[in-house]
Amino acid sequence: MSEKVDPKLPLRRAYKKPEMERVSLRPDEAVLGHCKSVAAAGPGGSSTCMPIGSCFTQGS
């Protein structure tokens, strides 16, 4: 038996299997737990991350 399709009705979209997409979270960046930029933190105006010099964002 063939089913008649009413041409006025919109066609049903083909089923597409749901997919899981993983979005990465970088905890060290997200929680502000590590060194950010030059002269950013620490006693005496130095960085908390390195005794001498600076510590920059690793790219941006």
């Binding site: 060290d28 737990g33 002269a39 933190a41 105006g45 920059f56 690793q58 790219g59």
Partner: protein
Amino acid sequence: MYADRILFYPRVISGLSACDLKQTYEDKTASGCAADTLTLRVGDVAVRIKSGDPAMKLRVNGAAESFLVSNVAADVEVTTAWGKLCQPPNTSFVFDSGGLWRLSRKLENHVFHLTSPMYGTLPYKRAIFSPDFTCGEVLLERSYFDPRDPVDALEYPLDELLMMNLLAQGRGVEVHACGLEDTDGQGYLFIGHSGAGKTTTARLWQKAGGVQVLSDDRIILRSWVGRTWMYGTPWHGEARLALPTRTPLRQIFFLRHGTANEILPLRCGEALARFLACSFVPFYSRSGLNFALAFFHQLIDSLPCAELRFVPDERAVELARGCAA
């Protein structure tokens, strides 16, 4: 036990005389000058820092100097003083960043313990804030500082932690992004983790001319009466671009390096997840997370949002401009 100098809310509130501060102290904001009181305004949130010790002078570092203001009412009042800090008990933490800071609670106050790999596990700074973060006290471990030098009481990461928590009270969200204002006054937001191309993008647009980069690494987003604004912050990236201004947001891109310049649509859920992954939100606060999710959802509903895969040349700028047109 905590150090003997620590004061807890509501005693902190009464000790600070927040209302008096607004009328009594004249800000001294000349670049590089030490002062008794400073007011830092980021994202239209003004934080007044007052020295609680006549011998202690205050300063701010680097790009934060551009964010100092005078004669504005403070949203947040913070005093700072020397203290003798002790090791906090290990079992008391609400959140551990795994790095520079840990959070505990005392009564309803938030207590941040800041440590440095340079100085071991004893905190060099402890900051206590009232439940709504509008009032606080910062204690500095005297033995770590040269008393002759002015101190930056809110230096990173405390300044950004404070702002993150203030924004999460319903004000807005800070995102890991480059934000810029094009020649027509429209704002573009380029979001991504470190290495996604935020600073590269900032430099490409600067080359195009007439563009103002609010920040190449951190942008604050706030909404008012149906419009979303981007604010520059002092927490810049490698290009050190940080402007204390704001601009209306027109277009959102999630950045990714590619082999060609192309713009790809994003589903709402995907955009939401990416926003959350590239934002600075208090993961220990249910209400803060709920607010951030609702904020991002509203943003995605109201503004064009797509992925921009790019190669670092001027065609990427033209493609982004064409998409927003």
